[in-house]
């Protein structure tokens, strides 16, 4: 059980703000086909916090995650990451900012099939220009932390789903980003494996100056969250502690 998932710690207003969204809007398409994916989102994520974004399919969770991570531009509103206004960054500067400050974990893992687990985990360091030997040594360290040291020379196809997600987490964490964003990281895993990988993510990614945002439908991992933001129709409707959310959903904690 997550020791931080209490009302006291999740309130955490003393901790600095990692992510701040103010009236963020985003639409796709034009004319009659225009769809509003984000409809004035206001939200904060504090350092030391794991926030889960939940809601029905198509409610804008992944779009919000993409806008926060700087891989999609909002139409209006303001997104700040660690006091950096994302709208002020353009092109390569924005890409480099992402490379230094954000770690990504994806639903389908997106591991490069031609690279070993160790090489996959080291990719963010390659992007940051680390020497290959040093980057691979650091990758071994992270794979070890995630219990995969003995599989470091395996290719993704030789690993189970849970092992692949751990490699993906190693890749998301290896450059010690200040924000880790995860899109449905447990949807392809069975319940027990899902809990194991989220537990590992939580222990490695959440720190005093770092935060994690997880988009999920998986109620089995809610108890790892400090707060859970409920979305619908492109808005954040409410934010609860994990305890409150689970109680509301009728789950036992």
């Amino acid at each position: 059980m997550n020791p931080l998932a209490t009302e006291e710690s999740s309130a955490g207003s003393a901790l600095p703000i990692a992510v701040a969204c103010r009236n963020v809007e985003k639409s796709f398409g034009q004319g009659n086909a225009r769809t509003r994916a984000l409809n004035g989102v206001d939200m904060e994520v504090r350092c030391g916090e794991m926030l889960m974004l939940v809601g029905p399919s198509g409610c804008g969770k992944t779009t919000l995650l993409s806008v926060i991570a700087g891989i999609l531009d909002s139409d209006s509103g303001r997104v700040e990451l660690f006091n950096q206004v994302m709208g002020d960054l353009r092109g390569a500067a924005k890409t480099r900012f992402r490379g230094r400050n954000i770690g990504f974990a994806f639903q389908q893992f997106n591991l490069l099939p031609q690279l070993t687990a160790q090489e996959n985990a080291a990719i963010p360091l390659f992007i940051l220009g680390w020497p290959r030997r040093k980057a691979l040594a650091r990758a071994t360290e992270y794979l070890d932390k995630l219990g995969l040291a003995d599989r470091r020379n395996n290719f993704p196809r030789q690993l189970s789903g849970g092992q692949q997600q751990r490699v993906a987490f190693a890749r998301a964490l290896i450059h010690e980003p200040r924000l880790v964003v995860c899109d449905e990281p447990t949807s392809a895993l069975d319940g027990r494996t899902g809990e194991q990988v989220i537990s590992a993510l939580r222990s490695l990614a959440v720190g005093a100056d770092r935060a994690v945002i997880v988009v999920t439908h998986d109620t089995r991992i809610f108890h790892f969250a400090d707060r859970i933001a409920q979305m619908d129709d492109g808005r954040v409707l409410s934010t609860h502690t994990a305890r409150e959310m689970l109680a509301k959903e009728g789950h036992k904690i």
Binding site: S66, I71, T95, R98, L115, I127
Partner: protein, 379 residues
């Protein structure tokens, strides 16, 4: 990130080999056809290549190519000699003749008669240590060794054949450049050649001229033309005129041009399609890299590294195929059927062509990578 790019490429073996095969086919087609084209066009002025020493060729007017020589009066030699700037001038006889071999078979040959005294205009390379003075032996002729083997039934020095009923004794072998008509060349003296060949009103085909030291060859040509009414060309000039005659008046350049262009297009289509398909299949991963902080420049360098590696390997394989095919041709076909050679200039030219093709092919991939939205990773 080049390391990642190359591992991505090599890890997808089918596409990796597909791109290399595309580039190799283009390289092979382009270099093979270019070599044959250059060899064939070079053979059009084979007579010029096969007659060494003189600076200027003087022919009867009008002359469209070096195989279209209209005989002129023997007196023209003296008129040319009289032009200021001429160090010496000598006659050249040239006529196709029927040669009767010992087996009774006939073979059409090109008979070249060199100046009786000077023997100027001999072949570029004599074999087995003989000199042109061997032609002073009675009935003496020198023949090309390769043609002797292929078309003159292995005739060797010491053996004889008949030219228009006259005995011709082979006194040595030489090596000549390929002629466009593929006829064996038989060298002898001018008087002997004129005596052996079927009679015609005039017999002097070309006056070969050596200019005095320091004389401008083009100016001397103009002076000879003005004084004699004949046509005068530098060695390069007559070769060039012949080359351009064939370029403008025959279907050779168009046909070879079509083949070379098709080779380049087919190769580019295969390479571009496979390279694009490879990039397209990896867009999700490239998007992942982009999301994780790889800039467009980094991704472009990755695509170019992949294109460079496959281009270099494909070029090497294609050149190997091209060189191998020429080795087979050299080994299994008679000299008269060889239309080209493996030229280093063609290798360099083809290499540059392949750089353009691979760059053009990778452009499609680059555009898709630069347009790629990193948000694709969450779809």
């Amino acid at each position: 990130m080049n390391f990642v790019a190359l591992k991505m490429l090599v890890g997808d073996r089918v596409k990796y080999i597909g791109i290399i095969v595309g580039v190799a086919i283009a390289t092979f087609l382009i270099s093979q056809q270019l070599n044959i084209f250059i060899g064939l066009m070079g053979s059009t002025y084979g007579l010029v290549t096969n007659i060494s020493t003189p600076d200027i060729w003087v022919t009867n007017r009008p002359m469209q190519d070096v195989d279209d020589l209209r005989p002129m009066s023997g007196n023209e030699l003296y008129r040319v000699k009289a032009v200021r700037g001429v160090l010496w001038a000598t006659r050249l006889f040239r006529q196709t003749v029927q040669v009767r071999l010992n087996s009774g078979k006939f073979q059409t040959c090109m008979l070249l008669g060199l100046g009786d005294q000077s023997l100027v205009g001999g072949p570029p390379e004599l074999l087995d240590g003989i000199t042109l003075s061997a032609l002073r032996i009675s009935h003496g002729v020198i023949v090309d060794a390769a043609y002797a083997r292929d078309k003159l039934q292995n005739i060797a020095p010491g053996q004889s054949m008949q030219i228009n009923g006259h005995r011709a004794l082979v006194v040595g072998w030489c090596r000549t450049a390929l002629s466009f008509q593929g006829l064996p060349i038989v060298y002898t003296t001018y008087s002997r050649a004129a005596n052996w060949a079927p009679a015609q009103r005039h017999q002097l085909a070309v006056v070969l001229v050596k200019a005095r030291q320091g004389v401008n060859l083009h100016a001397l040509c103009r002076r000879i033309e003005a004084r004699t009414g004949l046509e005068a060309y530098t060695r390069h000039g007559i070769a060039s005129k012949t080359f351009w005659y064939y370029m403008k008046s025959t279907g050779i350049p168009i046909n070879f041009g079509i083949t070379i262009t098709l080779g380049a297009l087919v190769g580019m289509a295969i390479a571009a399609q496979t390279l694009y398909q490879f990039t397209h299949d990896n867009l999700r991963y490239l998007g992942t890299l982009k999301a994780m902080g790889a800039t467009d420049g980094t991704l472009a360098r990755m695509v170019l590294a992949q294109a460079f590696l496959t281009g270099a390997l494909g070029f090497g394989v294609g050149m190997g195929m091209s060189g191998g095919s020429f080795m087979l041709i050299m080994h299994f076909t008679p000299v008269s059927q060889r239309l080209g050679a493996f030229l280093p200039q063609v290798m360099i030219g083809t290499g540059l062509g392949m750089v353009v093709i691979v760059m053009a092919a990778s452009l499609f991939s680059l555009v898709s990578v630069i347009r790629l939205e990193p948000a694709v990773v969450f779809r």
